[in-house]
């Protein structure tokens, strides 16, 4: 509504640029209001519906801003707010699209998943607050806001992982997640203080401009950068802070696993992209602070480790958790293939586009797991035997996710991986692309196991599926259609991503 009015009355005031985050936060608060009026509410349809609508509204606003060019070169460049602490530009809007659409899918899928649970309003509001935190992460222009928004995204996530509090796995996973999260937050905060010591600023642009004056403090700066990297590695579930991921994803309610492994990971990348590219621009770095090299090592190790660990799993959810680590490795190419003066916007944009496609296919895959959990079918590959004959539509969707994650045509994941590897080659890092391609080929092994189990193996005679839950089905099919449509519609996505990435350099 506000947007429609503003169209007639000239440009919007600057603060409206953060409205996607505001909408998410307000929806979360509204859920609290509903809960306080009727604290025993078990009206899941209302709660899930409201949070889905809120997320979709935020998605729509962010999409509209992106199309209108808010915060982009066409309309006067990035919008800085609150003493430059936040910045709204094309990249933050692009990432907001990922967070909000994943949040919407997760909320609608949770309709059935939490129907029997208590504290439903809290569940949905925590999801929305986490999404708010992620949106703010993508807008952070200062290390201080980066830290705060990172915590805002993390704290609700810890609680969400522990949501099934009578389930030992869920609680154990949350504790591990929380402990590693706390550790990495401490490392991150320490890194911020070291960078501040070396440069005297927390604002990304000021850090960049005072890099040249950091003589004698290079060692401290280097340590600081390395520690910042640790904080991002935690959020993106990359090596060496990836240990929590398989535990948390396996123990958490499956829709939350979907949320964490898609949206939360993307948020980690959003902040890493901005902090490293803006605060530590290549070509102005003092010698010895070569973060690109660190990301190259991390990318190769992360994708290889994720893939090999995934190949040895017997539990589908855990396999997906490791595959999600592997995909973090692919997305890291976005930072690892940067060079001073190279085609950096193409590389970074390709990584962003991959994260968008990943948002659909990975969320869908975890939501399928949620569906299977809902039916009470087991969690190993063998338990999936014969599902295809009983629930063909959902299994077609899952096959789409698996093939797309493996990077097979004709799905969105094929183009996004292809463009990512292509841009790495273009930037001169053919070996990075080669490692990625080999890993991608290997990943077909474990993804196809799921497909094979569902369609080709015979079902156990005891296999009984319950009703077909509307919310989960809607979300899974929506994600599958999205994954499919991102193949023909990949051109606008990659074009937008690469254009908005240009503004960073």
């Amino acid at each position: 509504m506000a947007g429609a009015l503003a169209l007639q009355s000239g440009p919007l005031p600057d603060w409206t640029a953060v409205s996607p985050a505001l909408i998410l936060a307000l929806t979360g608060l509204l859920l609290f209001v509903i809960d306080s009026i009727d604290s025993d509410s078990d009206n899941t349809v209302l709660l899930a519906g409201l949070s889905t609508v809120g997320s979709l509204f935020a998605f729509g606003v962010a999409g509209w801003f992106l199309v209108e060019g808010t915060g982009q070169a066409a309309t006067g460049g990035a919008i800085s707010l609150y003493g430059d602490a936040l910045v709204v530009d094309g990249m933050s809007l692009f990432f907001t699209l990922i967070f909000t659409i994943v949040a919407a899918m997760v909320c609608i899928a949770s309709l059935d998943y939490v129907a029997e649970q208590r504290h439903q309003a809290e569940f949905f509001s925590l999801v929305l607050f986490a999404a708010t935190g992620m949106t703010l992460m993508s807008m952070s222009n200062s290390l201080a806001t980066a830290f705060i928004s990172l915590e805002l995204a993390s704290l609700p996530s810890y609680a969400l992982v522990a949501y099934l509090k009578d389930n030992r796995g869920s609680v154990e996973a949350a504790l591990k997640y929380f402990l590693i999260g706390a550790l990495s937050s401490a490392v991150f905060a320490f890194g911020i203080s070291l960078v501040y010591a070396a440069t005297g600023s927390l604002l990304l642009s000021d850090i960049a401009s005072s890099l040249g004056d950091a003589d004698g403090m290079t060692g401290i700066l280097g340590m600081g950068v390395l520690m910042l990297l640790g904080g991002f590695a935690f959020k993106t579930a990359s090596v060496p802070f990836h240990f929590w991921a398989p535990e948390a994803y396996e123990g958490a309610p499956a829709p939350i696993s979907a949320f964490l492994s898609s949206a939360s990971k993307a948020a980690g990348f959003a902040i890493a992209f901005r902090v490293f590219v803006e605060a530590f621009p290549l070509g102005q770095l003092p010698a010895g602070v070569d973060w690109v090299l660190a990301f190259q090592v991390l990318a190769v190790v992360t994708m290889t480790l994720g893939n090999f660990a995934a190949a040895t799993q017997e539990n589908v959810k855990r396999m997906l958790a490791y595959s999600s680590i592997g995909h973090a490795g692919y997305a890291l190419i976005g930072l690892a293939a940067l060079t001073a003066g190279g085609p950096n916007a193409n590389v970074l944009g390709a990584s962003m586009a991959h994260l968008l496609v990943y948002g659909f296919m990975n969320t869908g895959a975890f939501l399928f797991i949620a569906l299977v959990e809902y039916w009470g079918v087991g969690t190993t590959f063998e338990d999936y035997n014969g599902l295809g004959a009983r629930a063909p539509m959902a299994c077609v969707a899952m096959s789409v996710f698996m093939f797309s994650l493996a990077g097979l045509p004709p799905f969105g994941g094929f183009f996004s991986k292809y463009v990512l590897f292509y841009s790495a080659i273009e930037a001169g890092f053919w070996w990075l692309a080669a490692v990625g391609a080999v890993n991608s080929a290997l990943s077909l092994f474990y993804y196809s196991r799921v497909v094979k189990a569902m369609w080709i193996e015979d079902a156990a005679p005891t296999l009984e599926l319950g009703s077909k839950p509307v919310g989960l089905y809607t979300a899974v099919i929506f994600a599958a259609v999205g994954t499919l449509l991102l193949l023909p519609a990949f051109q606008p996505v990659i074009e937008t991503a690469q254009t908005v990435a240009t503004a960073l350099f």
């Binding site: 295809g388 045509p409 004709p410 292509y422 080709i456 051109q491």
Partner: protein
Amino acid sequence: MMIEALMAVTFAAALVVFVAPDEYAGRLAAALSLLPVVGSLLMWAQYDASGNALLGGDIAFETDFVWLSLGNLDVHWFVGVDGISLPLLVLTTILTTLAIVSAWTPIDVRQSQFYGLMLFMEANLLGVFTALDFFVWFVFWEAVLVPMYFLIGIWGGPRRKYAAIKFFVYTNIASLVMFIGFIALVFGLGDSVSSMRLPEIAQALRADQLGSFAGLSADALKLVAFVAMFLGFAVKVPVVPLHTWLPDAHVEAPTPASVMLAGVLLKMGTYALLRFNFTMMPDVAKALVVPIAVIAVLSVIYGAILALAQQDLKRIVAYSSVSSMGYVILGLVAYTTYGVGGATFQMIAHGLISGLMFMAVGVIYNTTHTRMLGDMSGIADRMPVTSGIFVAGAFGYMGLPLMAGFAGEFFIFQGSFQSTVHSAMPLFTAAAMFGIVIVAGYLLSAMQRTLFGPFRFDGDYEVTEAAFHDVAPLAVLLLLVIVLGVDPDIFFTMIQQAVNPILETGGGL
């Protein structure tokens, strides 16, 4: 937009059938699959182009727009047909409909999924034969594997899982090798191409614009890429010694999937060889004529000998496909108008005849539940119509005049005898001709043991004539084989128009 409409209708039909109830999925699939048949026949009737799509000839039903612009190599949505691809398109649509009808009897579980996958595969095959951008083509090429993997893996025989995985792994590795070879070529061409469109790449390659890449000189790169692509496609064809996945896949696959596998999927390999290796790099092909011709002759003879040694009717037909595809390779490497044109014609002819043979074996199997030569004899007494068509089809396979197989093989032999690419070509041709003798040997002996003689059958099943809808597809195929044999010009004229440009600038004929 004709091609897009054709594909969209087929994809939509696949989706509709997939969610239809099992009881009438088969009827629905057959009815819906008539739409692409009508569409492809309309295209054939309206076809007025000439020349080769890759070498600057007219492209019929062309659509071309940028799909993905990426650095300096755009991906285009670029589809169209010429005289080489149109006959294959018609073959695909007709054979799919007949294969679907032939599935009514044997497929008795999860029917809607089966027919949905058949139509999904058809849609992707249409894509393979019409795509003129490498990327689009590759997407469809890979996508064909997935439904076939499921068709074998779910509805196949006892060892279906092994066969499905073997098929998938073999052909996927082959695709990877081919992909690397082709991409190396594209990088080697550097700035002389601005997209992945095949005509652009083909013309640049023939105009010698290849540069060095990855430390290889232009000539070495061309050779390496040719070999990589040849190997990649050869697995699909398949040629000896890369054929070992084929008998497993065929024996385990349900009959309709075998029909599609032999009738259309194998042609993907020879079609790609013609489009890529032999059109784009005629100089390398001619330099490698001896090894290629040796492989061709080896496939013909060895495939036929293997067929001779089999006791399983389906294995016999499967191995004889290896043998027949050897002729196609021989025709391609001859680089004469009859050689390459005959090879293309043989793709169609073999598609129809091998489809017919697999279907006939399937119909007998539906009744007897065995395919072993020793388990039955005198089937013709009880199943006269099926047996009659089987015999007619087998004679088509042996190359009886006035049947399509005769035309195809005759063109190939004539073309390869005339060939001037190497002085030994007539010798290779003569060697390959012995294949026909062996084919006649094993087919006659197999028929003599199973169909004729006194009726004997060890199983517990009542052996009676098959239902009308089982025999009808056989009769239609036989009719098509005869029509094409009597008047090969239905396709051969357009094939020749499309083939001649390959030879002209390559200095052949």
